[in-house]
């Protein structure tokens, strides 16, 4: 009996899934370099200039995920997203969705252009187009002289229970927010 219990226990352990910490990673890269992770950087973008960036999303959630990356625009004074809350007060420039298999890293193209800019009350506002879609105005977000804008990227995942996207990915006790930002100046 005891030998049966020992061998059965060993079999159970060998067949059980090993514990692991689930996560989703979000990265952003460009062939030309982003140079924009900090304010006062040299990433200056001219009107009409087309930028080709790429998101890298790594899924280690032990299941396939349906992710959405929301792009927002902010400046040096606006509140950004954090580990628990998205920055829903900032204007949304676009959103891109993707299904990602477990264990895969998906590369998602992000091509954007400042189509035009204008000034009102001493502040510069932008009309930004993402992936060839209709341009979206950055108002009410504007900056002095077009400096220190920032694009904020938030990762949202689909929750089958609620039937909607939730900010971040489900952690052990609560949602874990995932976001990135890139500073730029508009010339």
């Amino acid at each position: 009996m005891s030998l049966t219990a020992i061998f059965s226990s060993v079999t159970f352990y060998a067949m059980s899934a090993k514990p692991s910490q689930s996560f989703i990673g979000l990265g952003l890269y460009s062939q030309r370099g982003l140079q924009g992770y900090i304010p006062n950087s040299n990433l200056t973008i001219a009107t009409g200039q087309n930028l080709n960036w790429t998101f890298a999303v790594t899924n280690r959630m032990n299941q396939a995920e349906f992710v959405m990356i929301i792009t927002r625009i902010g400046n040096s004074s606006t509140l950004t997203s954090n580990a628990t809350m998205p920055s829903t007060t900032l204007p949304q420039l676009g959103a891109t969705e993707q299904f990602i298999n477990d264990g895969e890293t998906s590369r998602i193209n992000f091509n954007w252009t400042i189509e035009s800019s204008y000034q009102t009350a001493g502040l510069t506002y932008l009309n930004v187009s993402i992936d060839g879609q209709q341009s979206v105005n950055s108002a009410p977000v504007g900056t002095a002289s077009g400096r220190n804008f920032r694009l904020i990227f938030e990762l949202w995942t689909f929750d089958p229970v609620s039937g909607s996207f939730q900010y971040g990915y489900p952690g052990q006790t609560s949602q874990v927010g995932v976001w990135l930002q890139v500073w730029f100046n508009a010339s």
Partner: protein, 175 residues
Amino acid sequence: MRTLRPRSLTLLFCLLVSSIFLVNPPHETWAQSSELATARQDLVQAFQSIQIAEQQGASNTDLLPLTTQLNTALQYEEAADVYSRQGNAAGSALSLQYALQSIDISTQVSLQAQRLGNTAQTTSLYRTTLSYILAIVLALLSAVAILEVSRIRGLLRRRRLLKARIDYGGRKQAE
């Protein structure tokens, strides 16, 4: 100023409502929105089928092609959404076409995911049962080996003795 009679007002109202329907037939708009909504629902359903198949034990390698197909369906659904916003007849037709393609792919993915999940569940059950049977057999063999260890040693000793060569050297010396 003379006010209009109630009958005239009613007639005018009916004419206004009729003209709205003539400009934008509700049935066609409703059908397009319905197909787009169905495309979205089917995408979510197919995604959930993939997750269920994973829980049933389907491998990532088997599910990867399904995820790729689902992304194609997603692109069709997004294209359908873009064309539907154009608000013209050509856009509506393209929107419907892309929505139907998206629905078709999502349905195929759902069916394949269910099939993979069921197969994986059956395979997993066989594997688990076999593993535990093997564990019990090994346990029994181990128990037999432990209980009969002295008899086994005796057996081995006897075989060694039978195999050993008899040395007649003592008899030769005596001779």
